[in-house]
């Protein structure tokens, strides 16, 4: 099993734009734009996230919205809408409590995530299933992918680059979230426990000011990035609209998998016999080579 996986991975060149067909043994010559012909269930066809990740995402998602709503209202207290929203939360004293509970939940979700990721990685290394290409770790290939993808968007290339389970956008976002969570938790702790923080920072006056600044600025940046980038990329752009169900079902649609994570799809073909049968059928129906 592991040998054939390596075969597939190496048989497809990682950069060139000319390799329109990818030969998969036992399936056939798969054209790069086969995703325009396949059928997909909007709820998802192929596995992408484990149950743990779905739970973690859900926790983060809900707490993030609560944190953003309560925090932004406090931050923009001088604007006209702030008192109205604050009333919904039962006044600033209650809102502070809500914000702290949500923060605690989010930290729990983050720790849970770290445990799953570290545990899962260790398990994979021990069972020799670990493959760096199927992780969030940034690779040189991602830089090439950005260039090729932009070339495709502006019409200079015929097809999108073949990408792994996590493409450049997702890796960038993952790093941003790691950094953002670290900053927000650290600064938030400083705001929540100023007495303890005063004993830790070398200069409490500077430290507290920095924490205030970073907590607010980082949070506002996180909110705009989540709304305008994460949401629009995931749910609003054509093909994903009106909603991608992955965050609830943990599955990705076939069409999306082939389009943006072609290399991961090759792993899927290898690991899921039914998928091989389906792909064969599609190739046959559309007059492509099969074997």
């Amino acid at each position: 099993m592991s040998t054939s996986t390596e075969n597939i991975a190496t048989s497809s060149k990682e950069t060139g734009a000319d390799d329109y067909y990818t030969l998969v043994e036992g399936v056939g010559n798969i054209p790069r734009d086969i995703y325009k012909f396949v059928k997909s269930d909007p709820l998802g066809d192929l596995p992408r996230y484990s149950f743990h990740i779905v739970i973690q995402h859900f926790l983060t998602f809900v707490t993030f919205l609560i944190l953003a709503a309560t925090g932004l209202t406090l931050h923009f207290a001088s604007l006209w809408w702030a008192p109205l929203v604050m009333k919904l939360f039962g006044g600033p004293d209650t809102a502070r409590l809500i914000h702290r509970i949500a923060a605690a939940l989010m930290i729990i979700a983050s720790v849970y995530h770290l445990i799953t990721i570290i545990g899962g990685t260790l398990h994979k290394i021990m069972t020799k299933k670990f493959d760096i290409k199927r992780t969030q770790i940034p690779l040189i290939k991602d830089a090439y992918d950005i260039v090729h993808d932009i070339k495709y968007f502006i019409g200079k290339e015929e097809q999108r680059p073949k990408m792994h389970k996590f493409m450049y956008k997702q890796k960038l976002h993952y790093i941003a979230i790691l950094w953002g969570t670290f900053v927000l938790v650290a600064a938030g702790m400083s705001l929540l426990f100023p007495e303890i923080m005063a004993t830790i920072w070398p200069n409490p006056r500077f430290g507290q000011d920095l924490a205030r600044l970073m907590h607010a600025d980082e949070a506002i940046m996180a909110i705009t990035v989540i709304v305008f980038w994460h949401w629009s990329n995931v749910h609003l752009v054509p093909g994903r609209f009106p909603l991608q169900w992955s965050f609830l079902t943990g599955k990705i649609t076939r069409e999306h998998q082939i389009e943006e994570h072609f290399l991961e799809y090759l792993y899927n073909l290898n690991e899921i016999p039914e998928e091989r049968e389906y792909m064969k059928k599609i190739l046959r129906e559309n007059g492509f080579d099969t074997n």
Binding site: L74, G91, P92, I154, P204, R205, D209, M214, P238, E255
Partner: protein, 360 residues
């Protein structure tokens, strides 16, 4: 003859007085002299020689619910000695003694003690003050409009039971009020809400930058209202918090009126007293904690490092917003050109033909 006429007239008045004292309903204790006979009408007033509207109206129902409801008019307006009285030129002096006797005391009540505290504070008028400063300093009435008596419903403690013990010896009416008077003041530093305090200190005074500049206050004081409103205390109070610190929480002791500049040794915000001041709310306060900036202004001169961090984060913010939106739009543009369709119901969306020329 003249003498007899006066006697007759006085007798006549006395007769009418006795007659009506039975016919008219009881007149309020504070208005034995019936000043409200004229002053209870809302149009009593005039436009004065300087073109200012002066109202002499006292709403009798509101006055009866104010803290001064038992104080006779002339205890404050002492200069009135005949009717109709001459135009009033004198201000009321709040340090006057009035005919109210505090419990366990034979002295007449007066606000003199607190006025002494106030006069020593930064707001009290000093001899070497400039004329502008003298004019700008608040006087009693500026902050204290006749306060409505707040009825506090005691819930934290078993009010009736506790009061019940007092009633073994004391009359209900007096002791209930005295009891409430004390417990009310045990609850919080002031009877006013934090919002009212902030409003009072800011509006027309500390937030009036033109006035503040004229009075030549320090840069820090110029910014004080702004920096407070941007601090977590100010934001929480602005949104209705009853717990967060307002101006007098930090700048005065329980006597409220003893506000000093921070280099004065009795100032609550003097370096030596800061730990004690912060400790009113924050636990485990240390010297290091007291170094934290409460009125924090992050400007290019005050805090250059933090200011540059803020500017860089600002660029990162606008960069990420516009950069990432741009990337997402470019992506949509490219994929639409290649034939993707916006589908609302159907799951798959690559239904269209590419608009590009495909040689394949």
């Amino acid at each position: 003859m003249e003498f007899i006429r006066i006697i007759t007239r006085k007798t006549l008045f006395l007769a009418i007085f006795l007659l009506f004292s039975f016919m008219t309903p009881g007149v309020d204790a504070a208005d034995k002299e019936n000043c409200l006979m004229c002053h209870k009408y809302r149009q009593i007033g005039r436009i004065d020689e300087k073109g200012r509207k002066r109202s002499y109206f006292v709403n009798e129902n509101i006055y009866a619910n104010s803290v001064h409801r038992n104080v006779p008019c002339r205890d404050c307006h002492t200069y009135i000695d005949k009717l109709p009285h001459d135009p009033v030129t004198q201000e009321v002096n709040c340090a006057n003694e009035c005919h109210i006797k505090p419990p366990f005391s034979n002295d007449n009540f007066s606000h003199k003690k607190i006025i002494d505290v106030y006069n020593r504070s930064v707001h009290g008028t000093q001899e070497d003050d400039s004329p502008e400063l003298k004019a700008a300093k608040p006087y009693c009435k500026y902050c204290h409009l006749n306060p409505i008596y707040t009825r506090v419903e005691e819930q934290r403690i078993a009010f009736e039971e506790t009061l019940g013990r007092c009633l073994n010896c004391h009359e209900r009416k007096g002791v209930t009020q005295a009891y409430k008077h004390i417990t009310h003041r045990l609850r919080s530093k002031t009877s006013r809400s934090p919002q009212e305090i902030v409003q009072l200190c800011s509006k027309n005074c500390h937030a009036d930058l033109v006035l503040m500049k004229k009075l030549k206050v320090s840069n820090e004081s110029m910014e004080a209202v702004k920096t407070y409103n941007e601090s977590i205390h100010g934001k929480a109070v602005g949104l209705g918090s009853q717990k967060a610190a307002d101006c007098v929480s930090c700048h005065a002791t329980s006597s409220i009126h003893d506000i000093y500049k921070k280099d004065e040794p009795h100032a609550t915000v003097n370096k030596a007293n800061l730990v004690k001041t912060c400790k009113q709310c924050h636990e485990n306060v240390t010297e290091r904690f007291a170094q934290i900036d409460v009125h924090s202004e992050i400007g290019p001169h005050e805090k250059p490092v933090l200011y540059s961090v803020n500017v860089i984060l600002g660029f990162a913010f606008y960069g990420s917003v516009f950069g990432l939106i741009g990337l997402a739009m470019l992506e949509s543009y490219g994929r639409r050109k290649d034939g993707i369709k916006m589908q609302i119901l159907h799951g798959t969306s690559w239904r269209g033909k590419s608009k590009r020329d495909k040689s394949k």
